[in-house]
């Protein structure tokens, strides 16, 4: 007896359909029966581990392939990345001289020690992971919506991380918070504990900020500073750095910090030498605006005498100002009515005008002028003193 089976197109489709139904039914059966043990303590079987690792690597490679790495100055940006890494990432990933927190070490997959593993990734892949996070791995996406600009300092830090010693890491991530920098009044300051988070990046009365991508705070209007912190806390102003920091603050903390910085005489970084032409163009725009582009004069709002809600910009860092104006142009700061107002103006500015204004404000120094006048007086006094002698 011979059994013959003729494969027709119809029978083929029926066969495929049957196999699909059986597969789905099996999968449901496995899930419903509870046979698979999902305990993190048990770990993944080797075959599944291999499957997930390959899938993750390929996904990161493919999704990040169109990202253009900007011309980043690692040394300039790394301190900012390091400070955030210390408060946001080190708890899971560890850091030089600091073991992974045992609680998080028992996650599955357990977070990798980045000093050892970070060099296998390209910069654009690191950017993508930090920006978007990873599903099923507990890696969160960046908390500042549309703040891609903030991710690059993290990438800059990660590129220098493998070579850092324990001491170098501490210097980089603690910024101005290191004890030898805050020896005088700060040690006994009642806000010391609150200020530890701020000082990792922002300047103090004896030290400039660790990077020119964070704003100068000393001497700023306290009402404006309080509003900024409040907006970060309420998710009205986007920043992956400031939102987590402001999240920890109570209203009275915000008030105290705003007043502290309002009264602080901060040390400013050395400003680069700008061309006179650039500064002159910036000064014109600040004082007169540009009627042809309908840009009002900056100085009508951003002066000490006017509304306490408008920040003073004298001596502000160029990088910070430029970054914020570009953010405004992209609509990244229009969640509040103050932000919306500035957004209208920023969108009327050209990139050249943004550069000129930022350079001008960085070069303007009300305080340095005051210092000079004091010095001149002192000089005159000494001359008079000599004559008297």
């Amino acid at each position: 007896m011979r059994l013959t089976c003729v494969v027709t197109a119809k029978r083929l489709w029926i066969g495929i359909g049957a196999i699909a139904i059986v597969t789905v039914a099996m999968a449901l059966l496995v899930a419903y029966s509870g046979v698979y043990n999902i305990a993190a303590s048990r770990g993944h079987p080797a075959w599944l581990n291999w499957f997930l690792t390959v899938g993750m690597h390929r996904s990161v490679q493919v999704n990040s392939q169109n990202i253009k790495v900007p011309d980043i100055d690692d040394e300039k940006l790394a301190p900012l990345g390091a400070a955030h890494f210390h408060s946001g990432c080190a708890v899971c990933h560890g850091a030089p001289g600091m073991r992974i927190n045992p609680v998080f070490d028992h996650m599955l997959p357990s977070p990798p020690n980045l000093s050892e593993e970070v060099s296998q990734w390209k910069k654009r892949e690191l950017f993508w992971i930090v920006r978007h996070g990873l599903q099923y791995a507990g890696m969160p996406g960046w908390s500042g919506h549309a703040r891609e600009d903030e991710v690059w300092p993290i990438v800059a830090f990660l590129s220098v991380l493998p070579d850092l010693s324990e001491q170098e890491y501490k210097t980089l991530s603690q910024g101005n918070n290191i004890k030898k920098f805050i020896h005088d009044d700060a040690d006994i300051h009642p806000l010391t504990e609150l200020l530890t988070n701020c000082r990792r990046c922002h300047g103090t009365s004896t030290r400039p900020a660790t990077t020119s991508y964070v704003p100068v705070l000393g001497g700023q209007k306290p009402e404006y500073l309080a509003r900024a912190l409040h907006e970060y806390k309420m998710n009205l102003r986007e920043s992956g750095y400031m939102e987590p920091a402001a999240h920890l603050l109570s209203e009275s903390d915000i008030h105290a910090l705003a007043n502290h910085y309002g009264q602080l005489d901060e040390v400013i970084q050395e400003t680069p030498d700008y061309s006179n032409k650039l500064i002159e163009a910036g000064r014109k725009l600040v004082e007169n605006g540009d009627r042809s582009r309908r840009i009002p004069a900056c100085a009508q709002c951003h002066i000490r005498e006017h509304s306490s809600q408008f920040p003073v910009l004298d001596e502000q860092y160029e990088d910070y100002l430029k970054n914020q104006l570009i953010l405004w142009q992209r609509g990244g700061r229009n969640h509040t009515s103050y932000g919306e107002l500035m957004g209208v103006i920023a969108k009327r500015m050209t990139l050249k005008q943004i550069q000129a204004v930022s350079a001008y404000y960085a070069s303007v120094s009300s305080r340095k002028n005051a210092d000079t006048s004091i010095n001149t007086n002192a000089h005159e006094n000494s001359i008079q003193g000599t004559e008297n002698l």
Partner: protein, 329 residues
């Protein structure tokens, strides 16, 4: 029966609509000076002439269709076709053209007969900037309100800050485009005092329909008084609190109020805004409440206008600013 009733109603509606167009502050048919008079006269002449010609042609068509054969034969003779079809329109249109030139030239002669007052007008999205030159050479700005003396020629230099606008106050006659990179001159001569309304007559973007202006034609002595007052700095002392709120919130970065530190040139000059007829280029009649409304709601009252919104001002602050602005007489 019903049909007749509706037809009568429709005709009545058309008639009243036509009448509504007359003798209002912004009507083509109410002129305030000789130049506009000539244009209105020419408009009437051409309209009635065209109606007469049309009726005549309808009559001829009737003849061609229904008249006895010998009438039809006469109508189609070579002589009648040459005279009626070529000679008549050529002669009539030539006379009309020459008459038009003479009429306008005469009107312009009146306009240019004595020394003209020169005013610069800049079209902006979506308002009008008026710049007066004082006898001492100083220039002062005002906005959305053209004040002129009667019985004196006025020469308007028209330019634009952005796109093409068209300056048109129907009662003064003449409509002239404001073209980027060009300077156009519009001469006007007004004899009748009063308040007239004008409108941008060339689509210029979002808020074009709300780009209006008022013009006040005044007796020469009154005009001199007005110009003298307008050239003074603002009478802001009365409301120091409102002034502080105005300045503190940066209003002065776009608006000038002479006599204060507000020196912006992006938006309309507000030095004497309280004494103007309208705000927002004809959107609201000036009153304290209007200023409050404008500050709170200008993007609803005049959508897309280029002033940013000030939603962070408190009710008290808005009131104070409105009081200050209304006090700028």
């Amino acid at each position: 029966m019903m049909r007749l009733k509706y037809t009568i109603r429709f005709i009545f509606l058309l008639l009243t609509a036509g009448l509504l167009g007359c003798k209002t502050e912004q009507s083509m048919f109410s002129s305030a000076g000789p130049y506009a008079d000539s244009i209105v006269w020419l408009t009437h002449l051409m309209t009635y002439g065209a109606i007469a010609v049309t009726l005549f042609i309808m009559l001829l068509t009737g003849v061609a269709l229904f008249a006895p054969d010998n009438w039809k034969r006469k109508l189609t003779s070579d002589k009648n076709i040459v005279v009626g079809g070529i000679v008549f329109p050529t002669v009539l249109l030539t006379i009309l053209l020459i008459y038009g030139f003479i009429l306008l030239a005469n009107a312009e002669k009146i306009v240019r007969s004595s020394e003209a007052l020169s005013i610069d007008v800049v079209g902006e999205q979506w308002w009008w900037r008026f710049i007066y030159t004082l006898p001492d050479g100083r220039k002062i700005e005002t906005a959305n309100e053209l004040r002129i003396p009667v019985n004196r020629p006025v020469s308007l230099t028209l330019t634009t800050a952005d796109v093409i606008h068209s300056f048109w106050i129907p009662a003064y006659g003449g409509k002239l485009d404001m073209i980027p990179g060009r300077e156009n001159t519009l001469d006007i001569f007004v004899q009748q005092t009063g308040v007239f309304r004008g409108q941008c007559a060339e689509y210029c973007g979002g808020a074009h329909a709300l780009m209006s202006m008022y013009s006040v034609a005044m007796l020469p002595s009154e005009f001199e008084q007005w110009l003298d007052k307008e050239s003074q700095i603002a009478s802001s002392a009365a409301n120091a609190k409102g002034k502080d709120v105005f300045l503190a919130n940066g209003c002065g970065s776009c608006h000038q109020v002479r006599g204060t530190t507000a020196n912006g040139t992006v938006g309309p000059d507000l030095t004497h805004v309280g004494s103007r007829l309208s705000i927002g280029a004809g959107v609201l009649k000036v009153s304290k409440e209007s200023f409050v409304q404008w500050i709170e709601n200008h993007q609803r009252l005049k959508p897309d206008n280029l002033m940013p919104e000030y939603t962070f001002l408190t009710v008290e602050e808005t009131q104070l600013i409105a009081e200050f602005l209304h006090g700028l007489q």
